[in-house]
Symmetry: C2
């Protein structure tokens, strides 16, 4: 049995593992870093739905290794069988033992499969794992299948539906809740998303439970709680992901009751030489302080940077201050973005909220150069005007507009701060300076606060 030493071992090769390794090496160039991952080729996680329509193959969706290689980080394809925190070693499936000074667990997440759902193991029932081999089989099989039910209308389900629709599948999107994207957006945005998706040809069925999947060998029918059923050739399950902590569990790393690895603000587990980041690591909300479940590559990368920076050199100014949840997606030409708490969630969490929505155009004058309407809702704390969250519907620039909201929330800005803020505008690129939607929504909230 060969035994090697590598200063920093990173387990997992997706967004969190990649960025953790690169940050570790950048900030501690004298240390050796290795990434152990199970995939030969890693999928860009958020790109997966686009393989099926816009991209046309998984080969166009590969997370490049150049960043690792150029920094001199080693890549080992294999799985870690066990971590021995006391010895500071990991054992891999090829029988190697690698000792480490610091370890980063970035084992990600796996699709949630409701085991109790009848018919879940039928042929042509697919999940959406971050696994190229699985996706290639899925992709090949689905080519000849026409009628597809996508179950679960979060981001993945919505993006998948739109992509499958692009390649002329008959798509039905089924959601238990009353609206698609209902966990992430307030109802107004959800309704617009439903309209857009319907307009494009996707059939949407909300407020129903899937009772069972029926069929002989292959899935043939989705039976719903309202007594109806849908004839299908394939089913895509997109009802969420669970943290992949099997390795952590069997290695005695502490995890919380949501099934994710407990971490502090430096991203350290209870074993101080073992860090965790990404989908497998615990998320605490930036505003509420509560433990939540958010799985976003962008959040994972932020955590990975914090982990990488603090490995050998703790710093209180390099900590992770809680998960915001900054999401965006698009359906056709329309972009949907959200940062922070929705109104619904803020109220549920006990905040006294005040909101306003402003709608304008993303060009000025509004008819210039391929314009799109732009709608921003701000959610603020009534007591102090602190921005708790924001939602955007717009054109392609609304993705970055959502990031503007993200920085506003991270910097704990208030309605008043926004009213005094400077922005940059340009006719072909943004809303008018007199009607920049974030500032206008802030102004509307100000006005409401004065009138009280």
């Amino acid at each position: 049995m060969k035994k090697n030493h590598v200063d920093v071992v990173v387990i997992g090769g997706s967004a969190a593992g990649l960025v953790a390794a690169m940050t570790a090496k950048s900030f501690h160039p004298e240390k050796d870093v290795i990434v152990i991952r199970k995939e030969e080729k890693v999928m860009i996680p958020c790109g997966i739905p686009y393989i099926f329509g816009t991209l046309g193959s998984s080969e166009s969706n590969i997370l490049p290794d150049g960043g690792l290689i150029n920094l001199g980080i080693k890549i080992k394809v294999g799985t870690v069988e066990i971590i021995n925190p006391t010895d500071h070693t990991v054992e891999t499936n090829d029988g190697s033992v690698i000792s480490y000074e610091k370890l980063i667990i970035a084992t990600g997440s796996k699709p949630f499969v409701p085991k109790s759902l009848k018919g879940v193991n039928l042929e042509n029932v697919f999940t959406v794992p971050k696994d190229k081999n699985y996706l290639d089989v899925f992709f090949d099989k689905i080519k000849d299948l026409k009628r597809i039910a996508v179950i679960g209308a979060g981001f993945i389900g919505v993006e998948f539906s739109d992509e499958l629709n692009k390649i002329n599948k008959e798509v039905t999107l089924i959601e238990l809740q009353d609206h698609i994207l209902g966990n992430t957006f307030d109802i107004d945005s959800c309704i617009i998303a439903e309209e857009e998706l319907t307009k494009r040809g996707v059939k949407i069925t909300c407020g129903v439970k899937v009772e069972s999947l029926e069929g002989k060998n292959k899935v043939e029918k989705v039976v719903l709680s309202d007594g109806t059923s849908i004839e299908v050739d394939a089913v895509v399950l997109s009802i969420g992901y669970t943290p992949n902590i099997d390795l952590a569990k069997k290695s005695g790393i502490s995890y919380n009751n949501q099934g994710s690895i407990k971490v502090d603000t430096y991203m350290r587990t209870h074993q101080e030489d073992i860090f965790a980041c990404g989908d497998c690591a615990q998320k605490r909300h930036f505003i509420t302080g509560k433990i939540i479940s958010v799985m976003l590559a962008s959040t994972a990368c932020a955590e990975a940077r914090v982990a990488g920076m603090n490995l050998f050199d703790l710093s209180t100014i390099k900590t992770f201050s809680g998960t915001i949840g900054i999401y965006s997606t698009n359906i056709g030409d329309t972009t949907f973005g959200v940062a922070g708490l929705t109104e619904n969630e803020a109220v549920k969490q006990g905040f006294n909220v005040i909101t306003a929505t402003f709608q304008g155009m993303d060009r000025h004058p509004g008819k210039l150069n391929n314009p799109h309407y732009q709608k921003v809702m701000l959610i603020a704390n009534k007591n102090c005007g602190l921005i708790l969250g924001g939602e955007v519907v717009g054109g392609v620039s609304a993705g970055e507009l959502t990031n503007v909201l993200g920085f506003i929330i991270q910097n704990k800005m208030t309605i008043t701060d926004l009213m005094c803020s400077q922005i940059g505008t340009q006719p072909m690129l943004t809303a008018s300076p007199a009607a920049y939607p974030i500032i206008k929504a802030a102004e509307m909230i100000s006005r409401k606060m004065i009138r009280k």
Copy 2:
């Protein structure tokens, strides 16, 4: 002579006047507000270059009055002849005297015309005032003129050149400095802008002075300092604007030696019941604290909001904290944005700077859905990592990406803060979470700082 009283009188109807009036009325709904402006129809200032190409008429570029009217703000078309601060009255060109409680001066700016330049009064030598009547004549005349020299390659000059080129004019852009946009961007961005504009058919001549304009009655020739000359049918002068403070001057309002009205952080002039905002008002740099000349509708609107909020009710948390200068423009498909200090300017101002540039794609994977490269340079203070400025070259979303930079600077974020920040990413809308250019540039600076 009729004498009226209006609680708040706003002089000027462009971006600053409009927003000041609307904010005043929103925050003080019990007060009467009037806007006195000289234009029947107001031009959207930043839209003016686009009248000539993309929009096709000034009628498509009118700042709507609905915002004023809906709030119950009166509009009076006319000019104010004099302000009497002691009496709290203004006298207008129709002989009216209006007494006010608070006055806001938003008289804007006017094109700088070098009086000493020989031939400046020849026919077909145009300036770019915010004046519909003038622009309509300009537009009509230029239709039949082919060879046009645009003198001065700031934003207006560049946008004008591109627009005139779109309608098949033979455009030569002439700039005294070594590069176009040289006052606003560091040299790398300027060179890209030159390449883009040249590729589109605009001829660029930099590093030469215009010695004279020649011609009998109409301009026929631009004579340059290098001894050459350019035959032209028309000339567009876009060499800057000067604050329009004639009224303020003759009314005894204090102004600085750059010719703009002195204001405090509440946007008050030395006469405490008289406020000023927009191009006519003094600008103090957010970072250097020095008095500068920045004329941007977006800055003007921010100042106008501060003026409007503080009219009757001063608040130290509603002050203007200094001008950042957040600019963006586009040439063809390429967007150029800048916020804060350029590297060049930061060094000149005495900052010890460290910079890094990251280039990636604005989609991920990078080939997805009409992508554009995205390049961000960050300029930070070496001592503390504070972000002093940033520059962006990218696609259409780079306008809002520039606003992300603007909020980063306004919140006095450091390189370390950025390394710990969360962003939102989506394949069709933004760069990859592992290669978000602002964060990557921050990481590159971190790495340089460690290596020292």
